[in-house]
C-alpha cells in the first residue's frame, strides 16, 4: 500500500478546503449520509432547477478521504444535469469497484480520479463512496 498515492497534495487540499463547506440558502434537497463504522458524517445540499444542479454544498465531519471525495464531487456536479450527474456517479463507483471496462470515461471525473487508488484499500472504500451514495439519495428524494 502506497501512502503517497493516497494522501496526495490534491486530496489533502480538498480535505481541508472550506470552499464547498457551507449551507445553501435555497436548497431544494438535502441528504445526510454516514459511515457508522468510522464516524464519517456528511450532509449534502443541492439546489436543483429544471433538472440541473445550480448549486451544491456540504457540511459535516469525517476522514480526509471522505471529506476530499465530497469536496471534489461537488466541484464536479455543479452546473450538470441530473442525467449527467447519474452518469458521473456510475463512473466513479465503477472506478472504485474496479469495474471500468475502459479508462476513457475517467477523464470526466476531473480531480476525483485522484481517488482511484482507494480501490486497492477495501477498508477505506466506504469513505470514498459515501458522498456519491448520499448524492444519489439526495437526487432521488428531490426528484
Amino acid at each position: 500500500m502506497d501512502l503517497s498515492a493516497l494522501y496526495t497534495q490534491i486530496i489533502l487540499e480538498h480535505s481541508r478546503s472550506t470552499r464547498n463547506k457551507r449551507q445553501l440558502t435555497c436548497a431544494t434537497c438535502k441528504e445526510r449520509g454516514h459511515n457508522p463504522s468510522c464516524g464519517d458524517d456528511i450532509t449534502i445540499e443541492l439546489q436543483l432547477e429544471d433538472g440541473r444542479v445550480v448549486d451544491a454544498a456540504f457540511t459535516g465531519v469525517g476522514c480526509a478521504i471522505s471529506q476530499a471525495s465530497t469536496s471534489m464531487m461537488i466541484d464536479l456536479i455543479k452546473g450538470k444535469t441530473t442525467g449527467e450527474v447519474a452518469q458521473l456517479t456510475d463512473t466513479f463507483l465503477a472506478m472504485i469497484r474496479q469495474e471500468l471496462d475502459n479508462d476513457s470515461s475517467l477523464k470526466n471525473l476531473g480531480e476525483a480520479v485522484a481517488l482511484k487508488g482507494i480501490s486497492q484499500m477495501p477498508a477505506r472504500v466506504k469513505c470514498a463512496v459515501l458522498a456519491w451514495h448520499t448524492l444519489q439519495e439526495a437526487i432521488k428524494t428531490g426528484a
Binding site: L6, P36, S37, G39, G62, C63
Partner: protein, 411 residues
C-alpha cells in the same frame, strides 16, 4: 519465575509475521487478542481425538467430548471463582451472554416504571439489549455520567442507583477510555437498594483477577477471544438461585428433560441455557487460554501492561497535538488508550499506522452514546496485551509523528 516478554512472544505465531513489509505490531488487543500455540494445539488435539456431540453420544468419542466440555466449564468456574459449575453457561460471546440475561432475566423481572442503570461508556452490547427491555417493559433507562477524569464518583453512583433501580449493568473496564469502574462498590450500593448487578467483564478479564464472589456480581459475562482464546465462545456467570428461577432463553435439543407432544420440561442448570450442539472446541480452547494466563500469572501480566500503558501515556502527553480520552491516573485505568491527533481523523491515523505495521483501532468503538457525550465523532485507540513490548510502543510513537507528516503537518 520471571516474566520474559520475549519468551512469551515465541508462543504467539501470529506475532511473527510482517504486514506491508514491516514487522506486525499488534495494538488492537481490546478488539481481540492473538492466540498462543497452547490454545491452538488444545483445539487441534480435541479435533483429532475427541470430536463428537457432548451429552448425547454413548460411544467413546461422545464421552470424551462431554469430558472435555465439562472440564472446560470447571476451568472457567475456577478462574472466576464461581460457587459451582452450574453457574457457568457457555455462549457464543459476551454479547450473547448479555442478551441472555436481558431477555431471560430482565424481561421477566422488570416492570413498567422500574429503572435500569447503565454507564454512559457502555459498549453497545451492554446497552442495546437493555434499551429493548426498557422498550418492551416500559422501564426507564438511566445513565451514570463521568467526571472530568473520566471516572464515576460515589455521588453519581448513589444519586442514580435508587430503590426504583431493578438492574445495574456496567462494564468493569471501558473499552474506549480504559477506566476501571468500582464494580464492587457499585454492587454493594446496588444490592442495598434491591437491584441486581450485571458485570460486563469483556475488557477486564485479561488484565486483572476477576472474582465473581469478591465482586458480589449477580451476573458476569466475557468473551473467550479477548483473553487469548478462540472466537465463538463466551461465558455467562449467574448466581445459581437467579439462574434457577429464569425461564430458558432458547429452546431445542440439549436443554430439555422430557418432551411430549404438547409440552416439555427443561434440563437442570447449566444445560437449561445451552440449547443445541455447543462449541466444544471453543470451550476447550478457552480453557487452554485460561491455563495459559494463569501459568504466567495475572499479577505479572497486569504489571507488564501497566508499565507499557504508563510509558505510552507519558510520551503521548508530551505531544501538544495529541489529546488522550481517559484517566491519566494509572490507579483508575487499564491498558487501553484512546486518543485524538489534532487535524487528523482517526480513520486516516489507522490507515497510515497500518502501513508502518502498527495495528490500531479507529472509530466509535461500539460506544456511540459515549462519543456523543464526549462530543467527539471518533477516536483512535491502542490497547496492550501481555506480549507487547516497550520497543513496539516506541515504533508506535515514532509512527504517529509520520501520521502528521503524511497529512501535511510539520510536526
Amino acid at each position: 519465575m520471571g516474566f520474559s516478554v520475549h519468551e512469551i512472544r515465541q508462543d504467539f505465531p501470529a506475532l511473527a509475521q510482517s504486514v506491508h513489509g514491516k514487522p506486525l505490531i499488534y495494538l488492537d488487543n481490546a478488539a481481540t487478542t492473538q492466540r498462543p500455540v497452547q490454545v491452538l494445539e488444545a483445539i487441534e488435539r480435541y479435533n483429532h481425538f475427541a470430536n463428537a456431540n457432548p451429552h448425547r453420544g454413548v460411544h467413546y468419542l461422545g464421552t470424551e467430548a462431554t469430558r472435555a466440555y465439562e472440564q472446560a466449564r470447571e476451568r472457567v468456574a475456577r478462574f472466576i471463582n464461581a460457587g459451582s459449575r452450574k453457574e457457568v453457561i457457555f455462549t457464543r460471546n459476551a454479547t450473547e451472554a448479555l442478551n441472555l440475561v436481558a431477555f431471560a432475566f430482565g424481561l421477566a423481572q422488570v416492570k413498567a416504571g422500574d429503572e435500569i442503570v447503565l454507564c454512559i461508556s457502555e459498549h453497545h452490547s451492554n446497552l442495546v439489549p437493555w434499551q429493548q427491555i426498557a422498550r418492551l417493559t416500559g422501564a426507564k433507562l438511566k445513565y451514570l455520567y463521568l467526571d472530568e477524569e473520566f471516572c464515576l464518583t460515589h455521588k453519581e453512583i448513589q444519586a442514580k442507583i435508587t430503590d426504583t433501580t431493578k438492574i445495574v449493568a456496567i462494564a468493569q473496564m471501558s473499552n474506549v477510555l480504559g477506566t476501571i469502574y468500582p464494580v464492587r462498590e457499585i454492587a454493594g450500593w446496588a444490592h442495598s437498594q434491591g437491584a441486581v448487578v450485571v458485570v460486563d467483564a469483556a475488557q477486564s478479564i485479561p488484565h486483572q483477577v476477576v472474582d465473581v464472589q469478591a465482586l458480589d456480581a449477580d451476573f458476569l459475562v466475557f468473551s473467550g477471544h479477548k483473553i487469548y482464546g478462540p472466537m465463538g465462545i463466551g461465558v455467562l456467570y449467574g448466581r445459581e438461585e437467579l439462574l434457577r428461577e429464569m425461564p430458558p432463553y432458547q429452546f431445542g435439543g440439549d436443554m430439555i428433560e422430557y418432551v411430549e407432544e404438547e409440552s416439555s420440561t427443561f434440563a437442570p442448570l447449566p444445560q437449561k441455557f445451552e440449547a443445541g450442539t455447543p462449541n466444544v472446541e471453543g470451550a476447550v480452547g478457552l480453557a487452554a487460554a485460561l491455563d495459559y494466563v494463569e501459568s504466567i500469572g495475572l499479577k505479572q501480566i497486569a504489571e507488564h501492561e501497566r508499565n507499557l500503558t504508563a510509558y505510552a501515556l507519558e510520551e503521548l502527553r508530551k505531544l501538544r497535538w495529541v489529546r488522550v480520552h481517559g484517566p491519566l491516573d494509572m490507579a483508575q485505568r487499564g491498558p487501553v488508550i484512546s486518543f485524538e491527533i489534532e487535524g487528523c481523523h482517526p480513520h486516516d491515523v489507522a490507515t497510515i499506522l497500518d502501513t508502518y505495521g502498527v495495528a490500531v483501532r479507529a472509530g466509535h468503538h461500539c460506544a456511540q452514546p459515549l462519543m456523543n457525550y464526549l462530543k467527539i465523532p471518533a477516536s483512535s485507540r491502542v490497547s496492550f496485551a501481555l506480549y507487547n513490548t516497550k520497543e513496539e510502543v516506541d515504533v508506535f510513537l515514532e509512527s504517529i509523528l509520520n501520521v502528521r507528516k503524511w497529512l501535511g503537518y510539520g510536526s
